[in-house]
């Protein structure tokens, strides 16, 4: 009962936030609504006792990805009116994608689980069951190669991003920390003997 009330409350906020993402005029507000969306979906995951996924969603998407998103959106001066010009032209495509998603959801909820009550929640997990452990147990044994592969792909992306920005440009002023640390007193300080000024 309580779970259902919580589910509908958070689901309502989730849908409201999702509508906010596409309707708000300010891109920063859109990003924040998206953060709210992620947060609410994490709560929905918590409700079906998938606490590891929920926390990782918050940690990765809300804590890292969206911060960078917000960062970029704040720095860019986005012209909303220009973005809205293409709305009518692109609307049919959007409607088509929305329809496909709705049909897929319908398929998952109705056709695949025909006769099963999907709104009643899942069976409670046994006492002492650790979600985190369960994920780790399959991730590092059965799926270790795909997991490693994903890690390598991410690493390549990081290296590529760094190498794009780290190119040598003419006129670039950088600091050589080693040289700064290695500097000695003799390089910087020069003692000058000044003869005292005598009064005449």
């Amino acid at each position: 009962m309580l779970t259902e009330i919580l589910f509908y409350a958070f689901a309502a906020v989730l849908i409201g936030a999702a509508i906010g993402v596409i309707t708000s005029r300010n891109p920063v507000h859109s990003v924040l609504f998206l953060v709210l969306c992620f947060f609410n979906s994490a709560v929905l995951w918590l409700l079906i006792e998938a606490e590891f996924l929920a926390i990782v969603l918050v940690l990765v998407y809300v804590g890292a990805v969206m911060v960078l998103f917000l960062f970029v959106v704040m720095m860019l001066d986005i012209n909303i009116e220009k973005l809205r010009e293409g709305f009518v032209r692109n609307a049919p495509l959007g409607v088509l994608i929305a329809l496909i998603v709705v049909i897929e959801l319908y398929y998952v909820l109705w056709v695949k689980r025909l006769g099963v009550d999907v709104t009643g929640g899942v069976a409670p997990l046994p006492e002492g069951y650790s979600n985190t452990q369960a994920v780790g147990a399959v991730l590092y044994t059965e799926y270790v190669y795909p997991f490693q592969l994903a890690a390598v792909v991410l690493l390549i992306a990081i290296v590529a991003a760094i190498s794009l920005t780290m190119r040598k440009r003419p006129g670039l002023k950088t600091q050589d920390v080693a040289a700064q640390v290695a500097v000695r007193r003799e390089d910087r300080v020069r003692l000058v003997k000044v003869a005292p000024e005598e009064e005449k």
Binding site: V28, L32, E51, I55, L70, F71, M74, Q175
Partner: protein, 357 residues
């Protein structure tokens, strides 16, 4: 009294647990807020003594001479709450008022999974460590929003600096925690403490010393404390992200979460590296003595010690330059943690030290 008791017994068990939990939550929050109040006083006193000053010594409780300055935090809070909250005319008003709350809520919510003693923890969840990490990464939103919504250049610059710094140090912090959970074999904070049974040398600080140092430095940086407080560098950008805030909004945006986060970092360091509520005299004095038993007081003592180090650092180190902060985070701390995780992996593999069978 009897009426109340019968009323209590008449409630359903669910309702009873809801009421008990709510009271516990309120109790923990009040304790945190009161500790924050006195931590601000302790900070001013400690830094005062280190700089050969007295610190606050005027506002006493009941005029008692030996309690001079003790009521200073209450005077500060009353002053801040009574001041007018100014909103800049060009600010994004909703976000401007929302930002302090976004900083405050994670700073308080993270305390839910902290085990204060062997018996007492609000929510004993399996992935406690991840929960704390996830919540502390949310605080950065408040800082960014505060800087952006104020529509001021200084505030915005402070927010940008703060965001980059927090993202950088969060990685080092996360890696340090990976080492801890490798050693403890659990993400539950209570289990992490229990895995350190057996005297001070069995605590994780000994075998994970580099990670302990990295965690503590990252903790100082995460909380935007000196010497990493470039987000509010007074000499360069006035006061950074909270320059436009005043009154109660300033108190909740800046003072309360900063100190609550400091205490959180110190508590986590105590739990993960210094054995939490375990006694340092375990095995050295008879077991039935109070000194050898696990209790909340040991945790309190350890947290107090770490908080003192926080204040000590603030009083003694000059502020880092911004590029030096980034260099330290990315090029020093992260490689150190990576190397030590590899070393730890070898130790676990060869079953050396605490991993001996």
């Amino acid at each position: 009294m009897d009426n109340l008791l019968s009323l209590w017994n008449g409630l359903t068990p669910e309702l009873q647990s809801v009421i008990v939990t709510t009271l516990q939550i309120v109790g923990v929050m009040l304790a945190v807020v009161i500790c924050v109040a006195f931590l601000t006083l302790a900070e001013r006193k400690v830094i005062g003594f280190m700089q050969l000053r007295h610190g606050p010594n005027r506002i006493a409780i009941f005029g008692l001479p030996f309690l001079r300055g003790v009521a200073q935090p209450f005077a500060d809070v009353i002053k801040l709450l009574l001041k007018e909250v100014l909103v800049p005319s060009a600010a994004d008003k909703k976000l401007f008022m929302l930002a302090p709350l976004i900083v405050l809520v994670p700073a308080l919510a993270a305390w839910a999974v902290i085990p204060f003693s062997p018996e007492f923890v609000l929510a004993d969840i399996n992935a406690g460590l991840l929960y704390v990490l996830a919540l502390t990464s949310l605080g950065v939103y408040g800082v960014i929003l505060a800087g952006w919504a104020a529509n001021s250049k200084y505030a915005f610059l402070g927010a940008m600096r703060s965001a980059a710094q927090m993202v950088a140090y969060e990685i080092a912090m996360g890696f340090a925690l990976v080492g801890v959970l490798m050693a403890a074999g659990s993400l539950n904070l209570g289990d992490i403490v229990r895995s350190q049974e057996g005297g001070p040398l069995a605590w994780h600080w000994f075998w994970l010393f580099p990670l302990f140092v990295v965690y503590f430095i990252s903790g100082v940086a995460e909380t935007n404390r000196a010497p990493f407080d470039v987000a509010e560098g007074e000499s360069e950008i006035v006061a950074g992200f909270h320059v436009e805030y005043s009154g109660a909004a300033f108190a909740t945006l800046f003072a309360l979460p900063e100190y609550a986060n400091m205490m959180l970092v110190a508590t986590l360091a105590a739990l993960m590296f210094l054995g939490g509520w375990l006694s340092p005299l375990q095995g050295y004095v008879p077991d039935e003595w109070f000194l050898a038993q696990s209790s909340f007081f040991w945790l309190f003592l350890k947290v107090g010690l770490l908080l003192f180090v926080f204040l000590w650092i603030r009083a003694t180190f000059p502020r880092y330059r911004y590029d030096q902060i980034m260099r330290l985070g990315w090029k020093v701390l992260i490689p150190v943690t990576l190397v030590w995780i590899a070393v730890e992996g070898v130790m676990v593999w060869l079953k050396i030290g605490p991993w001996a069978p």
